[in-house]
Symmetry: C2
Subunit: 430 residues, 2 copies
């Protein structure tokens, strides 16, 4: 007896899910122990030309009816966004279906509701495809590392911004030129906000942090900065110092282990760091655990086929569970750790200042750092006629201390401008 | 009610398993839903000083009695080797226990027997720790990629040999000096045969190939060459050409998809390839799947704590299954593909010859390649008085064609010596 699959959404990912279900039908049957059968495909509009070969009778615009149909066993949601995806997933689970979703926005915004419904209905909710496309990350984090303690997750989880930053780094292009090229190549959308402002990465960071630290995390808990302010000059001066700028998602336990921070922002990492070599639209994530040490996962973080591969992996797992009358691991939030405010984040900083070029300037600047207990590792001063550029790299300090330092610096008459401030990451992680 | 765990073996890995079970007891209880309790530890000799804090009454030399004890739920086997590990695992499964093992040798030598027993007893057999230590590889391959078609697995799966080759590359050391250093640092054993002759990597390759291609593979199916013949000159000349020599495990589907090859041998890879940057005793594995594309997994491939982390992850999964009355995915060999002989392997080759330095030599050498249909990509000739060194890199050709070419070359009077032959990998995989 076949297991019946309802597909909600038939865009880039959905059509690849259908293709794989067809092309690999025999393999899937062998791996699951019974065939999968496509019960229906919910779309917004009928009659649209699609790249897949499916009986037209399977298409419907009534997603809810399909998701709750008696003969459906598993619902695959690849619509994205909060609504109607959430209502559909809830309806499906309340009707006893297992659910596979690629919906990072929903899980990050309102994971509590959907995970709660999974628990209440004893239903499977799998979402490997929601983070980093084809890269197995959710399963390793929640299963392979289930006997370990994760300290930190640090990675490149947005392909669009990585493509743009990589282009800026390799060609010296400005942000807007690199964005335009990414759009022309289909790596960035017409409205690139979700990517370049870090919303997409923040949703993924929230999901990863929740799993890594067994706590509930939402997108609102994530400190988020995008890459729109990064200039060609920032990229070039990072390059000159042996660094590359990447948009990182960082989930890190505090030193006492009782809280953690989640943040997404551009940062400088040494060119020798493995993440520095992640080019174009690829993704890569470092996971540091107490016993496992440092692990890295690398691959295509987006795209129809890679994301569909992750969906299919979940589909096989959910189907096997269904046959066995079992279910996979449910949401784990027992640790209930606190997300600490950004001010408590400890990292290093690269600060570039325009200052007056006269005696005593360095002493006064250095004094401002010292007052806030921010220790300086390196200083580079370069005269340019009347004024000078001062580039400082600090030792580890809290975000709050650095902010207070910057405030103080801005009040000094000898500081003409705080040109740029960038966090420095990854020097202890390679 | 606690789930009772019998630990067979208490060496480097076993003692770390005990430590983690103790230190993370609360977390494990929360993640599983019930506590794990150490029911006993089977050791070869009692009264030995150990680094763990365990009630001495838990130690026993009667491993079989412990593994089959009525109150034991899960057996963790970290003894290694074929016997008595196999008998103990069989006895445990025949008594209805679930089993977690790190035993690559047994799985590669006689996987059929232990997997068969798991199936017959409806028991779980988990073995993430058997390949690449803490790196999640088994679970991603058999679960995350369950809906995809794996084309190739290519990686560094032996830390000892990677340490030695990395040392030879970075310091110019000879094989024996690098081996000595690895031994002094504990990366290599007193008898390094299993590592340096490629047996360890071959066992892992067999396990990976079996999972990747859903077929049964044993160590005997693996073409195996070690690194003992690699000279400092080989390493230096690879370096001069922009390559680094690594011991690779390669499992690759044939172009028609109906067979596959499994091999372990030293190979030259371009320095720009991500595997080239894998230093010291680290491991890294590339997996190429049709839809997922190229994935890489990187981390510590050995060591007590990393391996114990993998064991604990399996322990949590097996414990959850036990509570749910379910079991994980069983061995999948339905595809039953043929392992093709080494002669059918297609790759590129770097061949270094000592030849007489006179007119017509290159033509005669090139003709020998052409006769076997082996196409040459680059040639470098360097005169050295009476004779010359000829370095050729070929395009893709079968191993059989290359072997026939070499045989022909050795018969030419103008060829004084075939100095070295090395496969070139990874140029299409970065």
């Amino acid at each position: 007896m076949a297991l019946k699959v309802a597909l909600l959404g038939c865009g880039v990912v959905g059509s690849q899910v259908v293709r794989l279900m067809q092309e690999q039908a025999d393999d899937l049957t062998a791996r699951i122990g019974t065939p999968l059968e496509l019960a229906g495909v919910a779309v917004r509009r009928l009659g649209r030309r699609r790249d897949i070969d499916v009986d037209p009778a399977l298409f419907t615009t009534d997603a809810e009816a399909l998701a709750t149909r008696d003969d459906v066993d598993i619902v695959v949601e690849v619509i994205g966004g909060i609504e109607p995806a959430r209502s559909l997933i809830m309806a499906a689970m309340n009707s006893g279906k297992s659910v596979v979703t690629a919906n990072k926005a929903l899980l990050a915004e309102d994971g509590a509701t959907v995970h709660g419904a999974a628990r209440a209905n004893d239903a499977d909710l799998y979402f490997e495809a929601a983070v980093a496309g084809a890269i197995p990350l959710i399963r390793p984090l929640r299963e392979s590392l289930a006997g370990d303690r994760v300290r930190r997750v640090l990675g490149i989880v947005n392909g669009t911004t990585n493509y743009i930053l990589d282009k800026m780094d390799s060609s010296g292009a400005s942000f807007s030129d690199a964005l335009e090229e990414a759009q022309a190549l289909g790596y960035a959308e017409a409205d690139p906000t979700a990517d370049v402002e870090g919303f997409d990465a923040a949703a993924k960071a929230a999901i990863l942090a929740g799993i890594a630290f067994h706590s509930r995390v939402t997108a609102a808990d994530v400190h988020r900065e995008g890459i729109t302010e990064i200039t060609a000059t920032d990229v070039a001066s990072a390059k000159a110092m042996g660094y590359v700028i990447k948009l990182l998602a960082i989930c890190a336990r505090s030193d006492d282990g009782r809280s953690f921070g989640v943040r997404v922002h551009p940062a400088m990492i040494p060119r020798t760091h493995p993440l520095a070599g992640v080019r174009e639209a690829y993704n890569a994530v470092f996971v540091e655990a107490e016993s496992a040490g440092r692990l890295m996962f690398y691959g295509a973080g987006a795209g129809g086929a890679p994301t569909a591969s992750a969906v299919l992996g979940d589909l096989v797992a959910v189907a096997r569970n269904r046959l066995a009358g079992a279910r996979g691991p449910e949401e784990s939030t027992y640790a209930d750790l606190v997300v600490h405010p950004m001010g408590e984040t400890v990292t290093r900083y690269h600060v570039s200042l325009d200052v007056a070029d006269k005696p005593g300037v360095l002493a006064r600047v250095a004094d401002m750092f010292a007052k806030q207990d921010v220790s300086i590792q390196t200083v580079l001063q370069e005269g340019r006629g009347d004024d000078a550029q001062l580039v400082l790299v600090t030792h580890r300090a809290t975000d709050a201390a650095l902010s207070a330092t910057l405030e103080g610096l801005r009040e000094l008459d000898i500081v003409r401008d705080v040109v740029s401030v960038m966090r420095v990451e990854g020097e202890d992680a390679s």
